[in-house]
């Protein structure tokens, strides 16, 4: 018998059932770890540490989850915060923060290398962290722009802009 996310959340909350929460972790570990791995440029150890912290925080804050949002959106929101805190903790990466990105941010090297065919992974690494986050959430994990805005804590327009820019850069890099 399979339970819905809502069932598992209710069991986790009302009976503090760690097995029910474990099922939620099993369901969402792949997208959360995948997202964080992309943000961490493929560093799976770092992604796993951040993902573990994401799920521990989700367990602690489960009572604040509102059922009008999707559990995945809420979870990605926590994961984004974990990533932000990690980046803030590393001074050398402060400029790559996921804080709301500036309105105009174009990487000059993207234009000079636009004719090169890069594989997708390499092309994704060429995106800014903001573009990458928006692309991974919206285009790879199926979140709507609204949901991504909620998870990332950005205005809706910013998400749309980042997705658009990211897609344009990817198309140029991949010559799609």
């Amino acid at each position: 018998m399979s339970f819905t996310d809502a069932d598992l959340i209710a069991r986790s909350l009302l009976r503090e059932d760690q097995n029910a929460f474990g099922e939620l972790v099993r369901r969402y570990q792949s997208p959360v770890r995948g997202f964080l791995a992309k943000m961490a440029d493929g560093d799976m150890h770092l992604a796993d540490d951040l993902a573990q912290e994401t799920f521990v925080k989700a367990w602690k804050k489960l009572g604040t989850f509102r059922s009008d949002a999707k559990f995945s959106t809420w979870l990605f929101g926590i994961a984004c915060n974990e990533w932000r805190m990690h980046v803030r903790g590393r001074k050398e990466l402060a400029l790559a923060d996921l804080a709301e990105p500036p309105a105009e941010l174009e990487q000059p090297e993207a234009a000079t290398t636009s004719n090169l065919r890069l594989d997708l992974a390499a092309a994704m690494k060429r995106l800014t962290p903001a573009e990458r986050a928006a692309i991974v959430l919206c285009c790879q994990n199926g979140l709507s722009h609204d949901e991504a805005a909620q998870a990332l804590g950005w205005p809706l327009g910013t998400v749309k802009t980042q997705v658009l820019r990211g897609r344009e850069k990817l198309k140029r890099s991949l010559a799609v």
């Binding site: 503090e16 997208p31 995948g34 521990v56």
Partner: protein, 116 residues
């Protein structure tokens, strides 16, 4: 079971296909077990509830027995004469004892159900 992340595409774009195709499933490899180990210890409300309930029941029973003579005096005056032959202190003490035992049994059942 498909989770809520699966969504159909609105219109075809080769880039979308590439992006979705590149999204590989990350094998668990013990990750879930590590998360469950790292979760804060479960707060055992059941034991706390059991202790509070037991103390409350015993305190209530003790209070009832202690106050019984005074309460019985009031009752004796108000009751019909043939009822006065009944050993009310015994009946009341037995009722208090049964209530206390019943509450303890209920608390034990509640505790067992919580832990299952």
């Amino acid at each position: 079971m498909k989770n809520e992340l699966s969504q159909p595409s609105e219109r075809y774009d080769p880039l979308d296909e590439q992006l979705r195709g590149a999204e590989e499933y990350v094998p668990d490899n013990g990750f879930t077990a590590r998360v469950l180990t790292a979760l804060p210890a479960k707060q055992n409300h059941a034991w706390r509830r059991f202790v509070v309930l037991t103390v409350a029941v015993l305190a209530g029973a003790a209070l009832a027995v202690w106050q019984l003579p005074a309460l019985l005096g009031i009752f004796h005056g108000a009751l019909p004469r043939h009822w006065s032959a009944i050993q009310w202190p015994m009946v009341t003490a037995a009722a208090a004892l049964l209530t206390a035992l019943g509450s303890l049994v209920w608390a034990m059942f509640a505790l067992v159900n919580e832990e299952e």
